[in-house]
C-alpha cells in the first residue's frame, strides 16, 4: 500500500499529466509558488515553469474562456477555480461555450478541458465559499461531471478527465483533501460512468457523493453493530451516471437512501431517486425512497450551524433506521 492524501493524489495526477503530455497546462489564481487555493499544484511551477503552470490574474471568466480557446486549438488546459462558488463568474464560458462547441460545430471541434475546483462546506468559509453546485453542471448537456471521494479515485479519475476529449468538471471536496488512502505510483485511469461499491450490504442501499461517502461508510459500520447490512455506492461520476449498479443494488436491498451535501431541493439525489423509480428496481422497493441533502439555506459560518445545514452521520443513521422500519 502506498499511502497518500487526496491532495497529493490530485497533485500526482497533474504532475504525471504535465510530464507525459506537452499540451497539458495549468491555469488558475495563485497556482504558482502558492500551490493553488488548497495546495494541489504545489511544486509544479518549479518543475514545469510558468508557461505550463500559469498563475493568472483574478479573472474567472477569462480563465475558463482562455481554457476553451486553448482547448479548441489543440491544448489540454486544466484550470483551477479556487472555490467552486466562483463558477458563477465563469459560467458563460462553461455553459454556453465549452459545453456546446463540440455539438454546434458538428463534432468538428472539441474542447478537452478540465475544470478543477474545491467544493463543499466544513471549513468555516461561509455562504459564498462553501456551496456544492455540481448539480448545475450536471444539468448541462455537454459537460461531464466528476466528484471523487477517495485519494485513489481522485487520481485515477483526474487522469481520465485529462484524457477526455470533452469538457470535464472535476469537483474536489475541501474536507477530502487531508484524507489518506492507497494511491498507486504512476498513471492509472478509472473509467467514467462506473460506480464504486465502497461497502457491500444487503438491507439498505446508500448512494452518496463526495464527503457523504465517508459519512455513509461510518453509518454502515454503526448499522452493522445493530445488525443492519448497508451497501454504500459512490457513483464517482454524476455524468455519465452508472445507474445500473444502483438499480442492481436496490433490487437486492429493496431500500434506497440518497445522500449528498448539496441542497436537497432540486439536487442530484432527485435524479437518482427518479431513475430508480422509473426502472424495474421500483418493484423491489420495500419502502419509499429517501433523500438527504443540505438545508435550503446559504451556508452559515458558525461551525455548529454549518454542521446543522448538511446531513450528518446521525441523520443518515436515522434515515437508515426509518427505512428498516418499513
Amino acid at each position: 500500500m502506498r499511502e497518500r492524501t487526496y491532495l497529493e493524489a490530485v497533485n500526482e495526477a497533474l504532475d504525471e499529466a504535465l510530464a507525459e503530455d506537452e499540451s497539458v497546462f495549468l491555469l488558475g489564481e495563485d497556482i504558482g509558488v502558492y500551490g493553488g487555493g488548497f495546495g494541489a499544484t504545489k511544486g509544479l511551477i518549479e518543475k514545469y515553469g510558468n508557461k505550463r503552470v500559469r498563475a493568472t490574474p483574478i479573472s474567472e471568466s477569462a480563465i475558463a474562456g482562455a481554457a476553451v480557446g486553448a482547448a479548441m486549438t489543440g491544448m489540454r488546459p486544466i484550470f483551477e477555480l479556487q472555490f467552486s462558488d466562483f463558477i458563477t463568474i465563469a459560467l458563460d464560458q462553461i455553459v454556453n461555450q465549452a459545453a456546446k462547441i463540440h455539438y454546434m460545430y458538428g463534432g468538428k471541434a472539441s474542447v478537452p478541458l478540465v475544470m478543477r475546483t474545491a467544493g463543499g462546506s466544513g471549513t468555516g468559509a461561509a455562504a459564498q465559499h462553501s456551496q456544492s453546485l455540481e448539480n448545475w453542471t450536471a444539468h448541462i448537456p455537454g459537460l461531464k461531471v466528476v466528484q471523487p471521494s477517495t485519494p485513489y479515485d481522485a487520481k485515477g479519475l483526474l487522469h481520465t478527465a485529462i484524457e477526455d476529449q470533452n469538457p470535464v468538471m472535476f469537483y474536489e471536496h475541501k474536507l477530502c483533501y487531508k484524507m489518506t488512502g492507497d494511491v498507486p505510483a504512476g498513471k492509472y485511469t478509472i473509467p467514467f460512468g462506473v460506480a464504486d461499491i465502497k461497502q457491500t450490504g444487503t438491507d439498505v442501499t446508500i448512494v452518496a457523493t463526495g464527503i457523504m461517502v465517508h459519512k455513509a461508510l461510518k453509518v454502515a459500520e454503526q448499522a452493522q453493530e445493530a445488525g443492519i447490512s448497508v451497501e454504500v455506492i459512490d457513483p464517482r461520476t454524476l455524468v455519465p451516471l452508472d445507474i445500473e449498479t444502483i438499480i442492481t443494488s436496490v433490487k437486492k436491498t429493496g431500500r434506497l437512501l440518497v445522500v449528498h451535501e448539496a441542497v436537497k431541493r432540486s439536487g442530484f439525489g432527485g435524479e437518482v431517486a427518479s431513475l430508480v423509480a422509473e426502472s424495474d428496481g421500483f418493484y423491489a422497493l420495500k419502502a419509499p425512497i429517501k433523500r438527504l441533502g443540505g438545508e435550503a439555506v446559504p451556508m452559515p459560518y458558525q461551525p455548529q450551524l454549518e454542521q446543522n445545514a448538511i446531513p450528518q452521520v446521525s441523520n443518515i443513521y436515522e434515515a437508515v433506521l426509518s427505512l428498516m422500519k418499513q
Binding site: V33, A55, P57, I58, I89, G124, E295, Q302
Partner: protein, 370 residues
C-alpha cells in the same frame, strides 16, 4: 527592388501614449515633509489631527484583531496595517450620507462610516447581527466576491443621481480585483451614465500570492480609467494628505455632475492576506517589506504633525490606550450577543416565507425551545 513601406501605425509612438505618465500624486514625502512648498492644503489642522487619530485607532484595531483571532475570539480577519492612509484618508473625504461599498479588508472605513465596532466583530464571527445595518448607515457589508462591489457601486450611484442627491457612492477593490470583468463593467457603466461614483483600487502589490506585475501589462492601474472615458489618478497610498486631497477632488467632481473617478492608491499590507493560513514569506521578501515600512503612513503623518506642533507622543499613547479599552468593551458586547439559531437563519431567507419554510421554522423553533 523592395518597395519602401510607410508605417500605417507607429506602434512605438502609440505605446508611448498608452504608457503616458500617470504620475503618482504625493503631498508628504517619506520623511513627512511637504514635497513642494507650493502645496495648498485643503484640510484644517484639526482635521489632520482627527485623520491621524483615526489611523492610529485602526492600527490598534489591526493589532488587537490579530491577537483576538489567535485566541479564537474573532473569526475571519483580513489585516489592514500599512493601508491606513489608503483606507481612512479616502474615507475621510466623504460625507456621512455618501454610500460605502467596501471589500473584505475595508472594515475600518465601515466603522468610521458608523458601523458599531461590536457589529464589526459580529460580522467577523459570521453573526447576522453584524450585517443588520441601521438605516442611517449608508453602506453595504464587506464584499467577498472579488469585483462584485464595483458593478453594484454603479447602481448605487445611479440611484443617487436619480434622486438628485448631492452624494457619491464609493467602492474599494484591490490590485487583483482590477483584473475582474466586473471591475471594467462597473467603471464603464458608471461612466456611461455619468454617475457619481468613486472607484478606489488599493494597490497593495499582491493579490494573495500573485504580484501586481502578473495582473496586467498596464503600467498603472489608474490608466484603466482611460478606456471608460473617466479620469484615473494614481496617488501615494501611504500619504494620508495626498489620498485625502485626491478623493475629496473626485467627490467634488462627482457631486457636481461630472461623473466617476478611478483612484489607484499605492500601498502595502504588512501582514498576511488573511488570518486563514496565509504565509507571506512564500511570495514576498523581507527587503520588499522593509521598503514599504519606511513609507509607513502613520510615521509620515506623525512626523509632519509633530513638526507643526500638532501631535505628541503622549497624545498618541492616550489614543492607543483608549482604543484598546474600546475594543475590549466591544468584544465583550459581541460575546453577550445571543447565539444564532437555525430558525433565525430560516427566518432570514425571505421577506415573506412560503408555507414550507413556515413549517421548517416552526419545527426548528420547537426543537430550540426544548
Amino acid at each position: 527592388m523592395a518597395k519602401e513601406t510607410k508605417q500605417v501605425v507607429d506602434f512605438d509612438a502609440l505605446m508611448d501614449e498608452v504608457n503616458a505618465e500617470f504620475p503618482m500624486i504625493q503631498i508628504l514625502d517619506e520623511e513627512g515633509k511637504l514635497v513642494s512648498e507650493d502645496v495648498q492644503l485643503d484640510i484644517t489642522d484639526d482635521e489632520m489631527v482627527e485623520l491621524m487619530s483615526r489611523m492610529v485607532w485602526a492600527r490598534v484595531l489591526d493589532q488587537r484583531s490579530i491577537a483576538l483571532n489567535r485566541q479564537g475570539r474573532l473569526g475571519f480577519y483580513a489585516p489592514t496595517a500599512g493601508q491606513e492612509a489608503s483606507q481612512l484618508a479616502s474615507h475621510y473625504a466623504l460625507e456621512k450620507e455618501d454610500f460605502l461599498l467596501p471589500g473584505y479588508r475595508d472594515v475600518p472605513q465601515l466603522i468610521m462610516h458608523g458601523l458599531p465596532l461590536k457589529e464589526a466583530f459580529l460580522w467577523s464571527r459570521g453573526h447576522a447581527g453584524g450585517n443588520k445595518y441601521a438605516p442611517e448607515l449608508r453602506a453595504m457589508p464587506p464584499q467577498i466576491i472579488i469585483g462584485a462591489q464595483y458593478v453594484q457601486a454603479a447602481g448605487v450611484a445611479l440611484g443617487l443621481k436619480k434622486r438628485n442627491k448631492k452624494n457619491v457612492a464609493i467602492t474599494y477593490t484591490g490590485d487583483g480585483g482590477s483584473s475582474q470583468g466586473d471591475f471594467y463593467e462597473g467603471i464603464n457603466f458608471a461612466g456611461a451614465y455619468n454617475a457619481p461614483a468613486i472607484f478606489i483600487i488599493q494597490n497593495n502589490g499582491f493579490a494573495i500570492s500573485t504580484p501586481r506585475s502578473v495582473q496586467t501589462k498596464a503600467k498603472t492601474l489608474a490608466q484603466k480609467a482611460v478606456a471608460a472615458g473617466i479620469p484615473g489618478v494614481q496617488v501615494d497610498g501611504m500619504d494620508a494628505l495626498a489620498v485625502y486631497a485626491v478623493t475629496k477632488a473626485a467627490r467634488a467632481r462627482a457631486v457636481a455632475g461630472d461623473g466617476p473617478t478611478l483612484i489607484e492608491t499605492m500601498t502595502y499590507r504588512y501582514g498576511p492576506h488573511t488570518l486563514s493560513g496565509d504565509d507571506p514569506t512564500r511570495y514576498r521578501t523581507k527587503e520588499t517589506d522593509d521598503i514599504w515600512v519606511k513609507r509607513d503612513p502613520l510615521t509620515r503623518m506623525r512626523n509632519f504633525l509633530t513638526a507643526k506642533g500638532l501631535w505628541t507622543e503622549e497624545k498618541e499613547n492616550e489614543l492607543i490606550e483608549a482604543a484598546k479599552e474600546e475594543i475590549k468593551e466591544a468584544i465583550k458586547q459581541a460575546d453577550q450577543e445571543p447565539k444564532q439559531k437555525v430558525s433565525d437563519f430560516l427566518k432570514n431567507m425571505f421577506e415573506t416565507p412560503d408555507q414550507l419554510l413556515k413549517e421548517q421554522i416552526a419545527t426548528f423553533e420547537a426543537k430550540e425551545s426544548k
